[in-house]
């Protein structure tokens, strides 16, 4: 960059008020002795602010039109930190089936080390699981229920004992499915994080998670939400036709 290009930029910056007092003093000293730069300064002064000149005011109805659209937004702006936990509700069929798969794999995992088990065992295990999942949430929390509905092909206690452990863990994911039967869930966008009823959801898991929600609708909350993430979630909701309550 030639010397004069530097001066040109400085002249521009001076007119924009972006030069320090020192830099300006130095520039003015140069201008005293340089006709070309003085000419440049004159030209710059002439065009300065032209882009902002002679522009009309905003249309008189702009603010009102904006406010109409703002009021029509489904939800006013982010409430901070509200995450609602739902009480246990009876499991819906789809949720139950998913639970069977989840808990069933856990049970199979527990059974695998016991080499004596025949192929009948996993089938029976899922049978036990199915019986378990049909029960209400409260009942399922108790260890007794699975044992009570145990098929008679099982004679050994060890299976029943094993059945107890994963069953108990099954209580945790049940909260996730409980929402399906009752109130609408809440999606919280915290920064770039997406939470479904307080549980973190990876973006790629979200479409699936939303399918379980159905068309009932969701509450949408923003906690310092990242704009792109928020837009992506909103677009997904629109795409799946899930109303924002």
């Amino acid at each position: 960059m030639t010397d004069h290009a530097v001066y040109e930029e400085q002249i521009c910056a001076m007119l924009d008020g972006e030069l320090s007092a020192e830099e300006e003093a130095s520039l003015r000293a140069h201008l005293d002795g340089c006709e070309a730069c003085r000419a440049f300064l004159a030209a710059m002064e002439a065009v300065h602010g032209l882009a902002a000149k002679d522009l009309p005011e905003a249309p008189a109805d702009l603010a009102e039109t904006v406010m109409e659209r703002v009021r029509a937004q489904a939800k006013p702006q982010p409430k901070k930190g509200k995450v609602v936990r739902f009480p246990y509700k009876p499991l819906a069929a789809a949720a139950a089936a998913a639970l069977v798969l989840w808990a069933g794999s856990g049970l199979l995992g527990a059974l695998r080390p016991k080499g004596a088990m025949s192929s009948a065992a996993p089938a029976a295990a899922s049978g036990a699981m199915q019986a378990y999942s049909v029960a209400t949430a409260d009942e399922a929390a108790e260890e007794e229920a699975p044992q009570a509905s145990e098929p008679t092909t099982y004679g050994t206690n060890s299976v029943a004992e094993n059945a107890g452990a994963p069953m108990f863990d099954a209580a945790a994911p049940m909260e996730e499915f409980a929402r399906d039967a009752g109130e609408a869930p809440t999606i919280t966008i915290r920064g770039t994080q997406i939470l479904l009823d307080g549980e973190s959801v990876a973006p790629e898991e979200l479409p699936e998670a939303l399918e379980a929600v159905g068309k009932k609708g969701v509450h949408l909350e923003y906690e310092d939400a990242d704009a792109e993430t928020a837009e992506a979630v909103e677009a997904l909701l629109a795409q799946q036709e899930i109303p924002v309550l």
């Binding site: 290009a5 040109e8 930029e9 521009c12 910056a13 924009d16 972006e18 006709e35 070309a36 003085r38 000419a39 300064l41 004159a42 030209a43 710059m44 002064e45 002439a46 065009v47 300065h48 602010g49 032209l50 882009a51 902002a52 000149k53 002679d54 522009l55 009309p56 005011e57 905003a58 249309p59 702009l62 603010a63 039109t65 904006v66 406010m67 659209r69 703002v70 009021r71 937004q73 006013p76 702006q77 982010p78 409430k79 901070k80 923003y222 906690e223 310092d224 939400a225 990242d226 704009a227 928020a230 837009e231």
Partner: protein, 204 residues
Amino acid sequence: MTSQEERAVIERVLSGDAEAFEPLVREHQTNVYRLALRLLGNEADAADAAQDAFVKAYTSLGSFRGESRFGVWLYRLTNNVCIDYLRRRRESVPLQTESDDGEETELPLPDERYSPERLAERAEDVRAVRAALAALPPDCREILTLREIGGLSYEELAQTLHLELGTVRSRLNRARKKLCDELVRSGNFSPPSPSNKGKGGARA
């Protein structure tokens, strides 16, 4: 509105008071609209884009972290909305200029139609300046507009446009030089002589 007052308004909106957003709109609507007008070239699009920008600002208000001035955040948002408009305009170039019911559809590039009412006494000058601005390369028009209408500092321009500070300076310089050249070329600008700093210049 002081920045403290603005922060207070934003807090109110974020806690659910939608109506509190209106003073923010009124405070910035002139600049947002003028920015859009310079970038898009016609009033109808500018009005639409300005509305969209404000609504978008409302729905994503929770993501305003207060690191920059609210106006800067808003003008950045407006700039992005306008970029989208321009992109969509380019992508939907109509094959004919009239639709079935005979209405003129829009031309893809900065469209210089202004309603007749807008022309002031010095109509020639206004039009000349507008034409000269329209003739600028998009990046020059963008930075000049954000600087002069949005009032962004060089630092804010650097952040908004993801540029080095040096690039901001050189691009603004280039923009203004081109503006000069364009005005001279169109016969609307006699560069003032260096010894008479106050004389000459654009007849505007």
